[in-house]
Amino acid sequence: MPVIKVEKLTKVFGKRPKEALKLLEEGYSKDEILKKTGNTVGVNRATFEVNEGEIFVIMGLSGSGKSTLIRLINRLIEPTSGNIFVDGKNLSKMSKEELRQIRREKLSMVFQRFALFPFRTVLENAEYGLEIQGMDKEERKKKAKDALELVGLGGYIDQYPSQLSGGMQQRVGLARALANDPEVLLMDEAFSALDPLIRKEMQDELLDLQERMKKTILFITHDLDEALRIGDRIALMKDGSIVQIGTPEEILVNPANEYVEKFVEDVDRSKVLTAEHIMKRPETINIEKHGPGVALERMREEGLSSIYVVDRQRNLKGYITADAALDAKKKGIKDLTEILSTDVPQVSLDTSMQEIFNLIHDSPVPVAVVEGGKLRGIIIRGSVIAALAGSEVNLENA
């Protein structure tokens, strides 16, 4: 069951929403409706689902209705029509009290300009959500502290927000949301106010957190790079409507219409797609535990001609080929180090497709994606070519 499910969700701002709603059904555009009725269409019959543990990104230009949409989901804005389900419960039919309960337990929000309470310390800010639930002081302090530790602000709990940099303030915002231990994080352009370096850092950290905590995240951005970096799936909005939903690759490779194409057009796909986007989960064996026998068995199972070797901490040691392993087994060699090849073709997470392409061309084994000495993934020739070909085809169509 999806965690969030939204059905034909519509918001019309203005005095005569019913009339505008009718015109929407008849297929009039946002502009026409504004001219005819003076009402602004914020969100137009949005329908989508967000699955558990997924980072679902909503992307669109300024004014496309992203903020309105995310605020409809926790009903900070009352919908004009349509349904919102959270864990199968229909929010749009809930009483104030039930809604409050959902907001306290299931949905936490992170804001574009942080929205921290300036008269509260960092710790008191992080406590807010628990405080209003009536949790006792010691317990909520502890949980708030844990959340602050998680975002790396353990040492700043007694400072006031104004004493922190933008990036740190948004970490407080994130900690405040996490302290509640919600199922879903709603993030409205949470990183847009930060400068590019800090933004990238925060994106990485969010992915990290996501990996550890398995939250469902609804993330809004107007930045394609950001959407591609963090989204499991991306929904594109235009004039209040969702025009395409897909994985980052689907969006890049098969833009649903001209609008999406325009959006991705100025991005050189071979540059946007990095190692991280096309790498696969590596099959590995452990140098401290396994010998040539296990290596051979594993390769046979997976149909590989070579396999990467790591230690317990996933530090990359090298690779062994099937031939070498067979040879070793015959000779009775137990230690893998003796047959290890260490001339590994390596790239890092953000290496561009272009470079990978050149590297992989004359490599006998898949390219290893290494970050901080650890093996994060592998890239096989097929996926590079597929990705590049996809972009080639689309450039011709444009």
Binding site: L76, R100, P118, I132
Partner: protein, 290 residues
């Protein structure tokens, strides 16, 4: 012929307003005597007791307390403390100490009521545009109507003395607190309100944990104005018998005694400056970490 046209204005009979207003005041006095009478009976004497009590404290002690408070309130600086002590010595020296205590009582009590009534009204006003549209013209009226005009019915309700003085200052001084409470709450940024809502705050949690703390500076500025206005009203309230420095001013006015009037006026100015700086510093202190 032309004359007759020009005189047309004189042919309109005088519309009777003054009399009905008087009748209306009488009616209020009678109908609500169940309210006015007990207030007169208990609250009037209470005010005099407060003032009497203040006068019992040895002036030197009062001066020391004021000096110490001023010292710490201004962040351990001597300016305000020094000024306050010299000013108070001057007033004592001019034999105006009892009058000072009367005036102080009037100001504190009327400000106190202005604030405890004004803040809730301001809160309600900030939550409803309808209430705001209704209350705003009333506030305008309270502030622009010449004070003498409502001194007369006030005297009718509460007879003369301190009580009508308090009541008149209350009416005159309340609007800034109401207005600035309303403004302060309406000015709280949308995102902060959304944040408190998004985490599931109730109406009162949002009010007390977010809106009022955010509006505190603005509200305190309103309270400062309220206190100053109530002081300015004290002189006028002396016309209906409110005791204090104001009465000295009025009295010397009647006797054309420039000297005494000047001295009493100085006393009011000194008190005004002390009170103003005190409330302002209170605001600065509280808002420091914002």
């Amino acid at each position: 012929m032309l004359d007759q046209v020009l005189n047309i204005l004189d042919r309109i009979p005088k519309i009777p307003i003054a009399n009905p207003v008087s009748d209306f005041t009488d009616w209020i006095e009678e109908t609500f005597s169940f309210f006015f009478e007990p207030v007169k009976e208990h609250f009037g004497p209470f005010l005099e007791d407060v003032s009497g009590l203040l006068q019992q404290i040895p002036p030197l002690i009062v001066m020391i307390i004021v000096a110490v408070l001023a010292f710490f309130l201004t962040g351990k600086r001597f300016g305000l403390a020094t000024f306050s002590v010299i000013g108070l010595i001057f007033i004592y020296n001019q034999e105006l100490w009892p009058q000072l205590m009367d005036t102080f009582t009037l100001v504190v009590v009327s400000s106190f009521f202005a604030v405890i009534i004004g803040i809730p009204v301001g809160i309600v006003m900030s939550k409803s545009n309808i209430v705001q549209n209704m209350v705003t013209p009333i506030l305008d009226l309270m502030q622009t109507m010449p004070a003498f005009v409502y001194l007369i019915p006030t005297a009718a309700f509460f007879s003369i003395g301190m009580l009508p003085g308090v009541f008149a200052s209350l009416i005159f001084a309340m609007p800034p607190t109401i207005r600035l409470t309303n403004l302060g709450i309406r000015q709280v940024s949308v995102e902060l309100v959304e944040a408190s809502e998004a985490f599931g705050s109730t109406f009162y949690q949002r009010l007390f944990k977010v809106e009022l703390p955010m509006a505190k500076k603005t509200i305190m500025a309103g309270i400062n104005q309220t206190v100053m206005l109530s002081l300015s009203m004290v002189v006028i309230a002396s016309m209906i018998g409110a005791p204090g420095l104001g009465r000295e001013v009025i009295r010397s006015l009647q006797r054309a005694d420039v000297g005494t009037g000047f001295v009493a006026g100085m006393g009011i100015v000194i008190l005004a400056i002390i009170i103003d700086r005190f409330t302002q510093n209170l605001n600065r202190q509280k808002g420091e970490n914002a």
